[in-house]
């Protein structure tokens, strides 16, 4: 999931009786699956939590361009290069749809960017791992976009209208991402022995970080409980992780690759796989900034923001000058 550990109000979920009439009306709309729109009344906590969640999601799309952008110039064929370019361009679009959705809640785009650059707002832990080989690009599309889709599909039904609509657009585009990744993996897994080893190595390195994308178990989290009552979170982290594992293991088998988990076993009773949890200490370290490439990622974003400042200012000055000239001529 692209938004991890989003904190809500921290208080327990109120019952309808405990709410004042305005809040009750709001909650009843949510319960009845009526979308909340930007100018409708909403609890402060709902708004704040959404800004955090959508902002984190948007930042993830943008920072997520970096690990893949890393391979555009070194893609093995012109076709692969065009495909990867299109994929990375889509992610820029996803970031934009989400920033726009967040802006309807009253936070500005620049404000969000600055909070990302100062480290105040987070992005998904997954993008703090490097892409070392071409097979990593396959693994990212297959596993990382695969995990993102798992999370994003239910969010198309989220209670906040602009967020739900952004998700619909995003989901339409994501399946190409996962398929192009799997396509790379198929080619590598069925290629030379060296290519097969590269594919296996990519799966080894991306398996647990992908499982971390869903966040630690939130079965007993007050934040999640509140977010679920507001329908800005639809499933628990464990539910989504289970679904992801169940979907992915047969795909790995088809590739002839081994999921790096010796405890992995089909559990007939629950109708899903038993699997090992990722190392949550590592997860919290990465969130705190100690992942393999946290610094590089933020540095790259800061550089892009700073280096682009004169372009943003220049284009705006030009537009203002032309507008003034037009007014003078009228």
């Amino acid at each position: 999931m692209y938004a991890q550990m989003v904190k809500s109000t921290g208080q327990g979920v109120k019952s309808l009786d405990e709410m004042d009439p305005v809040e009750r009306e709001f909650q009843e709309k949510v319960d009845a699956d009526i979308r909340i729109e930007p100018r409708d009344w909403m609890p402060e906590g709902y708004k704040k939590t959404l800004i955090r969640q959508i902002g984190q999601h948007a930042h993830s799309e943008i920072v997520g361009q970096l690990p893949e952008g890393n391979w555009i110039t070194r893609a093995p064929t012109l076709e692969r290069k065009m495909i990867l370019l299109a994929k990375v361009q889509d992610e820029a679009g996803h970031g934009l749809y989400l920033y726009c959705a967040a802006e309807t809640l009253g936070i500005s785009r620049d404000d969000m960017t600055e909070q990302l650059l100062s480290g105040k707002m987070k992005y998904s832990s997954i993008f703090n791992y490097p892409t070392l080989t071409w097979a990593d690009i396959g693994a990212v599309g297959w596993l990382v976009d695969g995990a993102a889709i798992m999370n994003q599909v239910p969010l198309q039904r989220t209670s906040y209208g602009p967020y739900a609509r952004a998700m619909v657009r995003i989901c339409k585009e994501e399946s190409f991402h996962q398929r192009q990744g799997y396509d790379i993996m198929m080619r590598m897994a069925k290629g030379s022995e060296a290519q097969r080893r590269m594919a296996q190595d990519a799966l080894n390195r991306f398996w647990y970080p992908s499982l971390m994308m869903f966040g630690p178990s939130d079965a007993n989290s007050v934040h999640s409980e509140q977010s679920m009552a507001w329908k800005i979170k639809i499933n628990t982290n464990d539910e989504l992780r289970q679904k992801f594992v169940d979907q992915t293991v047969p795909q790995a088998e088809y590739l002839g690759l081994t999921v790096p988990d010796e405890t992995l076993a089909w559990n007939e009773e629950k109708g899903g796989y038993d699997f090992a949890e990722p190392d949550w200490d590592e997860f919290f370290d990465v969130l705190k900034g100690a992942g393999p490439v946290n610094n590089d990622r933020l540095e790259a974003r800061r550089k892009a923001w700073d280096d682009g400042a004169w372009v943003r200012d220049g284009l705006l000055a030009h537009a203002e000058k032309r507008a003034a000239r037009k007014v003078a001529a009228e």
Partner: protein
């Protein structure tokens, strides 16, 4: 601190001759750039044949609180719908 580019609302006419439909928004310094960016962001897969951009501040909207007074009057006017009228079967399609 630099000033932020204004926000533009984007409307796209799809392939099938329908009206322009709101698809989202973006920031751009001026209308021409907004159109170019809208092309890149919202029509990457043949979604449109025409683009409108409108600066968000120029849009006037109904307030959520006015929903009742504005829209309720039409609710009771069921005679505006064809199903209000019973036409005998022998008349055929009408």
């Amino acid at each position: 601190m630099s000033k932020e580019w204004p926000l533009w609302e984007i409307f796209i006419r799809g392939q099938h001759g329908l009206s322009h439909r709101h698809v989202g928004s973006l920031h751009a310094p001026d209308a021409e750039t907004a159109v170019k960016n809208a092309r890149d962001v919202y029509t990457r897969r043949n979604e449109g044949v025409s683009i409108w951009v409108v600066e968000a501040k120029h849009i006037t909207a109904t307030a959520p609180g006015d929903k009742g007074p504005i829209f309720e009057p039409s609710e009771s006017k069921i005679y505006r719908h064809p199903t209000f009228y019973d036409i005998p079967d022998e008349i055929g399609h009408m």
